[in-house]
């Protein structure tokens, strides 16, 4: 439903993300280049050099310092953004937890890339899945257009719940592919995000506060409990912000999950990010053959939308869950494990299997997507399948 003719730009995922950052015009960006997220930093540095933003850009000497500087900056009440991938995110790992426990709404682009080792530069989700318990909101996007809009919504969500938020896009597949992105006007972005209202401000020298004290047995647990509550609150806020955004700008983004041809589906696949696009096509092809198969795209992994998943899958007989990362626990990836856990309490529990695919940027062609659907169908029919199957790997 197009409210009016939006400006359309041909942008890669990285360009779209950087363009959103330009329109947001954050107070501080501290970042370090890493493939395939480098362009975000590069493009943004050029915006700064050309005076198109009045952000303080801090070209730090590592991702660890990037996140550390973001924490310091955000503790002043400033609006702070950064971007990274893979090893960079791993190097930030320690500080991710500090950012969330200090309740700092830093918004970060993560261009999904396989974690070393062996070293690889291409897409999988091992990087952000490794950060899944760091207390950050995680939004996984399917394409450049969604990434662009998710960043703008992300600022509002993060600053409302006072939690940091990462918007992820698949390395190279989305970060470097050019697509049509329907952009907002600068003014619309500014009005939507508004001013940040921080919990505290360490530049308030007249009211000195202590941030990041030693928190031992007596209080640490209470502060962690607060973070759980903040994540619960994030669910409400994500829902309302996405609704408001759709209404205001005529978009139709799903808040947590996007059901695709699920109306009369008997079995289904759960997928994330760019692979969901391929899977939509496979579902269409199988539907043409009369298969009652559907797809659910998981858009938000933290907080985990277990209620929405229960609702959408309550009448489904068999589900295949796709993971672009393996937990190396001999029972598949994190999306499979958490989804299976979420559906455990359903009255009629579906049969479930996991698929690990696309590690290290391994292609995920339509044939593989169809193969996954066929395997889930076999599961539905009671044929023998493995609990976790590996797609596209040579034996």
């Amino acid at each position: 439903m197009a409210v009016k003719n939006r400006k359309r730009m041909a942008l890669t995922g990285n360009e779209a993300y950087a363009y959103a950052m330009k329109q947001i015009n954050p107070d501080v960006v501290a970042a370090y280049p890493i493939t395939p997220a480098t362009e975000i930093v590069q493009i943004f540095a050029k915006y700064v050099a050309d005076g198109l933003v009045n952000t303080e850009f801090v070209p730090v000497e590592s991702e660890h310092s990037a996140m550390s500087a973001c924490v310091g900056a955000s503790a002043t009440g400033a609006r702070v953004m950064t971007g990274t991938a893979s090893q960079g995110l791993a190097l930030m790992h320690e500080i991710l937890y500090i950012a969330s426990s200090l309740r700092l709404p830093i918004v970060m682009a993560v261009v999904n890339r396989a974690l070393s080792g062996p070293i690889n530069i291409h897409c999988d989700h091992s990087d952000t899945m490794g950060s899944r318990d760091a207390g950050w909101i995680q939004v996984y996007t399917e394409n450049a257009n969604e990434a662009y809009h998710s960043v703008i919504m992300g600022i509002r969500i993060a600053e409302t719940v006072n939690l940091p938020l990462m918007v992820t896009l698949d390395g190279f597949i989305i970060s470097h592919e050019m697509e049509v992105v329907e952009v907002l006007e600068d003014q619309e972005v500014q009005e939507f995000i508004g001013e940040r209202k921080p919990l505290y401000n360490i530049l308030d020298v007249d009211n000195p506060i202590t941030v990041g004290p030693l928190d031992l047995q007596d209080y640490y647990f209470e502060h962690k409990r607060q973070q759980v509550e903040a994540m619960k609150y994030a669910k409400e806020v994500i829902k309302s912000v996405v609704e408001e955004y759709n209404k205001k700008f005529g978009t139709d983004f799903p808040a947590f999950i996007e059901p695709y041809r699920m109306e009369d589906a008997e079995y289904a696949v759960l997928a994330m990010s760019s692979a969901a696009g391929t899977m939509k096509e496979a579902v269409d092809l199988m539907r043409e053959k009369g298969e009652k198969v559907g797809l659910v795209r998981l858009r938000v992994f933290r907080p985990f939308p277990f209620e929405e998943l229960r609702e959408v899958f309550k009448n489904i007989k068999a589900i295949g869950v796709m993971d672009r990362a393996d937990s190396l626990n001999t029972m598949g990836g994190p999306v499979f494990n958490e989804t299976r856990s979420a559906l455990y309490d359903l009255e009629t529990r579906p049969k479930m299997m996991g698929f690990v695919f696309g590690l290290g940027g391994r292609d995920f062609p339509i044939e593989d997507a169809i193969h996954i659907i066929e395997r889930v169908k076999a599961l539905k029919e009671g044929k023998k399948v493995d609990m976790v199957e590996y797609i596209g790997v040579r034996e």
Binding site: S68, A75, T76, E94, P208, T210, Y219
Partner: protein, 317 residues
């Protein structure tokens, strides 16, 4: 620019009370006095970032804080990166008119030798190279004291620590200390200095000097450690003084690349006078060869400083 660089103690006492009482630093720990001098030296309000370490731990056990100024602790190795973020935000918010233009704030990071010489060296180097406007204060107690006295690259040769123990074969640490002030000076920053709490007048002047210049500045301050060095708790200031009088800890500054030794002991004491009261050197008191090696190292570095000091700025030639 500060009106004048020196302050007497009467003036200082009117400017600050230092840390509040009730912190849990060991009896006799000198860093609360160092903090008092620094907070009192500052003309403008300050915001402090503190690396993980004794200072952070003992002053901020939730819900108790001893800090009278805004203070942030992030992690062990990133005090410099953290303060660089705070300072960047300050600049951005000033530019955007979100804080009043006349609101002057100074930024100070504190780190121990573990968080500065070792795990935080990269973060410090990066923040100095980027030219943020901040003062980094290293309180050097020559070891990882917070985790129970392990060696750092600031631990002196032959000192006993729990990871450089004096054993039957190996007599403590086998390496000399790294010269961090020189490493920092190599960043060509406007001001770097070494100071000692025993020489409070010199320390306060250095802090005021550092806070009055634009850009990154650095002061390394010796901070004797009662349990780590092993001496009676009333002796902290006395030991800091002995470190200076033996030339073990030269008081000097590097201003825009020019060196100046601020105090030259007229009758320098042999280094043994500094080592003797400390249990961490007890095992070498009967090893003249090792004491001699420490003396040689101290003398060599002093000679090097004298040589560096010969290069004078144009106007002083």
């Amino acid at each position: 620019m500060a009106e004048k660089l020196t302050l007497n103690l009467k003036e200082l006492s009117k400017r600050t009370e230092g840390l509040a009482s009730g912190h849990r630093a060991c009896a006799g720990c000198p860093f609360p006095a160092i903090i008092k001098m620094i907070l009192g030296a500052a003309d403008d309000p300050v915001v402090v970032a503190n690396a993980t370490g004794c200072m952070e731990v003992v002053t901020t056990i939730f819900p108790y804080t001893a800090w009278p100024v805004p203070w942030i602790h992030n992690a062990f190795e990133n005090a410099a990166a953290t303060i660089s973020g705070v300072e960047s935000a300050y600049k951005a918010l000033l530019r955007k008119g979100k804080i009043p233009g006349n609101k002057k704030i100074k930024f100070i990071a504190f780190g121990g030798d573990g968080g500065t010489y070792d795990i935080g060296l990269q973060s410090l180097s990066g923040a100095i190279e980027r030219g943020h406007n901040f003062l980094y204060v290293l309180y050097d107690n020559e070891g990882y004291m917070n985790t129970g006295i392990q060696r750092s690259s600031a631990t002196p040769f032959a000192a006993h620590t729990t990871t450089s123990p004096a054993g039957k074969v190996i007599p403590g640490k086998t390496q000399h200390r790294k010269d961090l002030t020189e490493i920092v000076a190599a960043h060509n920053l406007p001001y770097a200095a070494q100071a000692s709490p025993s020489h409070w007048n010199d320390l306060i002047r250095k802090v005021r000097k550092a806070l009055s210049v634009e850009g990154p500045t650095f002061i390394s301050i010796i901070s004797p450690c009662v349990p780590g060095w092993g001496y009676p708790e009333h002796m902290s200031i006395e030991l800091a003084k002995l470190a200076v009088e033996t030339k073990f800890w030269p008081l000097y500054e590097v201003e825009n690349g020019y060196y100046k030794i601020n105090y030259k002991p007229r009758n320098p004491l042999p280094v043994i006078e500094f080592l003797k009261p400390q249990a961490r050197f007890k095992h070498i008191l009967n090893r003249p060869d090792l004491i001699e090696e420490i003396q040689r190292f101290v003398d060599e570095r002093w000679e090097r400083l004298l040589w560096l000091e010969q290069r004078k700025p144009e106007e002083n030639k």
